[in-house]
Amino acid sequence: MDRARSRAVRSYLIATTFLSGFSVMVLEMAAFRAVAPYFGASTYTWTNVIGVILGALSAGYFFGGRLADKHPRAVVLYGVILVGGLLCLITPLVVKPVALLLLPPELGLEGAVEPVYRASLVATLILFAPPVLVLGAVSPFAIKLLATPDRVGGASGHVFAASTVGSIVGTFLTTLTLLPWLGTRLTIGLAGGTLMATAVVGFAICALSRRTAGVGFGGAAAAVLLLLATGAAGPIKDDPGQLAEVESAYQYLRVVDRVVDRPGRAGGTVRMLQINEAEQAYQSVEVKGSALTGGRYYDYYSVLPLLIDRDKLDVLVIGLAGGTIPAQLRHFYPQGLHVTGVEIDPAVLDLGRRYFSLRDSSWLTQKVADGRVFLKTSPKRPDYDLVIIDAFAQEYYIPFHLATKETFAEIRDRLRPGGIVALNAAAYRPDSPLLSALVGTVREAFDRVYRVPVDGYPNYMIFAMKDADPDFSRLLALPTRGPEDWEQLRRLAKYVGNSAAAARPAVDGLVLSDDRSPVERLIDADVRRESRALLGRAR
């Protein structure tokens, strides 16, 4: 048995387990970000990534232990690490082709949900299970090499401790530094490079020979080439109309121009700010040549000021994104308008300024903050006439902490009498569990809640007025004006006036609270129901 006896060798073995633990966590943290642009960042994707990686680690431990018993030599260990490093370096280069092979775009949101679960599972198995499986062999192998008959426990403890500390360092470093600075692909490449370097040094320290020198040199060369290829890789996604893509600390973002030529939809060029897989959703929209967005839910928010009896309008938008809502409000109600917009991701604001109508101006105050933190830390005064929640995490999830009864109570305190709170919910049917839950939750703070289906889109606008009932007659008899966008708004106002109905929660409906707000589960249930209906139709 080839046991590492020198102090340097033993120390390096401990360091090896640290670096291996570090690399595994970097890989795991980055894996989720690597698949998010193609499969989204839902709980299903998370579950697949974590489950597959844990499974691969388990298999790695099992086979690593057997391999260590059969070939207890350091050269084998570092050979295994070299293979793991190579696999890591290859992964960023094949994520995109594998993802697009498994799930090409344009299945639509509800069409993709069911396949996405399988696709993300298959992708994770192909892309991340192999390197993690290999790296799982490191710890048992290191224990085998370090342990003496009377110090197995100590050796195991050292290895597990070093590996875990490495994992902790990898976790924090990845989130706080590597992903924001390097992006996902280079972060994975860094993990691979670390492993390659570990293997090469390991060969030199523990098992230097002509063969190992050759292998190490070859591995180093391959690592450099693969890293260069990763650095030179093209965009994460490429669409003909893509203008920009950014990996922010929170998500993958892109700006894309699409030419809409769908029957039943307002046509023309539509600029969208999208996040992650963006099968169908968008965080900001601008339609070239129009103040409105072609009947999307944003337009419905522009109708609400007609219900408010004030000369000036103070608006709070939680989820500012690229500034679609303030731009529309400014267009239709320029007199006395002030908007405070809150956005958690500064990269989104940056894209908004560069590609949308978001501007620094006296009538728009932009705040970088979590919407709930903003509510908690801002003065508890009735400063607003209109509060709009347009914040979304991942593609279509309302952040759970922005959809609770406590949140709406805080919003109510900030509304003037006769003021309105409004939000948009993705729902395919009026009996959607999410709609029911949101209605019931808003009703905890407001007497009557109204719901308007967004015509032609799987959305509903939910709104409530503080201490008053909305006078829908204001929406039904607006005078005809010349400009086309005002005509569109007038028709939309009439539709809203005729369609708005007081909404009821389900009899046993859930009220979302800070303690329990399963927004993702509710949305997924609705989208998956629609997806299964589509699949059932297809089979």
Binding site: A59, F63, L67, L107, P115, R118, A502, A538
Partner: protein, 298 residues
């Protein structure tokens, strides 16, 4: 002397009889009207309420009081209650019915559907042959978001009594849709179309329900085609139906693509798992040692 005393007594009795009462009421009403027109609706209200207390069985102050309460003081519920009292005293009065109908209609859209529903219920009793009151009651109840079961029953009753009343069908369908019961809604639209085969709006809505909610592409296509057959070209209906046919085809293709993709992914998953199984078997063979359970004494 005795004769003069009798004449005088008779004159006194005449002065305090029904005619005098009538003059007092009319004068008070006139005063209230003047106050209202002078911009003092509260004063007018006080005048009329005082009059009502003094002559509780006199219906004459009630219409003006109701008008005042609704138009000048924005108290539609109280106005409606006065009209209800008035119409029970003077059944069938056209002015009272018209004013109550106006209140019912306007409050439906001005955020007071509860008042509208209340008024409509009264009107349904007083004018049972006017189907519009029943429909308005249903619409107001729907706006209130309560008791959809009663709304459905009311719509069904209207349909049974007035089989050609298309608005009742639409209201019923809307209730079903709000409950997510699209099969039932589609059945209602079909009933509507059997009564009004030329109703393009209903035909196109039906087609959309088949397409988007029921995912019955064949039925959607049939509905859009039937709309095309009867719609004039270059009308909204014609364009919508044409666009609908395109959407049906697109959705069919998308649905097929999704199904194929799902099958492909299932096969891919099985294949990947099979590869891993084979790999594990190979690794087991390559790393074969004495098993842990067969280890010798420590």
């Amino acid at each position: 002397m005795r004769l003069m005393a009798v004449v005088l007594l008779l004159a006194l009795l005449a002065a305090s009889g029904p005619d005098a009462h009538a003059d007092e009421v009319e004068e008070s009403i006139a005063r209230a009207r003047e106050l209202m027109e002078a911009g003092d609706p509260e004063g007018a209200e006080d005048e009329l309420i005082g009059l009502q207390k003094a002559h509780p069985n006199d219906a004459r102050p009630l219409p003006l009081l109701a008008y005042l309460l609704y138009e000048k003081l924005d108290r539609p519920q109280m106005a409606a209650e006065r009209l209800d009292a008035y119409l029970r005293l003077v059944p069938g009065d056209r002015y009272g019915l018209n004013l109550l109908t106006t209140i019912a209609e306007r409050t439906l859209d001005t955020g007071k559907p509860d008042v509208s529903r209340w008024c409509s219920r009264i009107l349904m009793e007083m004018e049972p042959n006017k189907k519009e009151h029943g429909l308005r009651w249903a619409r107001a109840s729907f706006r209130l978001g309560e008791d959809l079961g009663s709304v459905r029953e009311a719509c069904r009753a209207l349909i049974e009594r007035y089989p050609s009343y298309d608005e009742a069908y639409r209201m019923l369908a809307r209730v079903y849709e709000d409950e997510g019961k699209y099969e039932e809604a589609v059945a209602v639209y079909r009933d509507l179309l059997s009564e009004h085969p030329g109703d393009l709006s209903a035909r196109i809505i039906l087609a959309h329900r088949f397409l988007w909610q029921l995912r019955d592409y064949d039925a959607a296509e049939d509905a859009f085609r039937s709309a095309l057959e009867i719609a004039d070209t270059r009308t909204w209906a014609h364009e919508n139906a044409q666009a609908g046919l395109v959407m049906v085809e697109e959705e069919r293709e998308r649905s097929d693509r999704i199904g194929q993709r799902y099958t492909f992914l299932t096969v891919a998953l099985v294949a990947v798992l099979a590869c891993y199984a084979a790999l594990f078997l190979l690794l087991l063979r390559l790393t074969k040692t004495r098993g842990l359970l067969e280890a010798g004494p420590t």
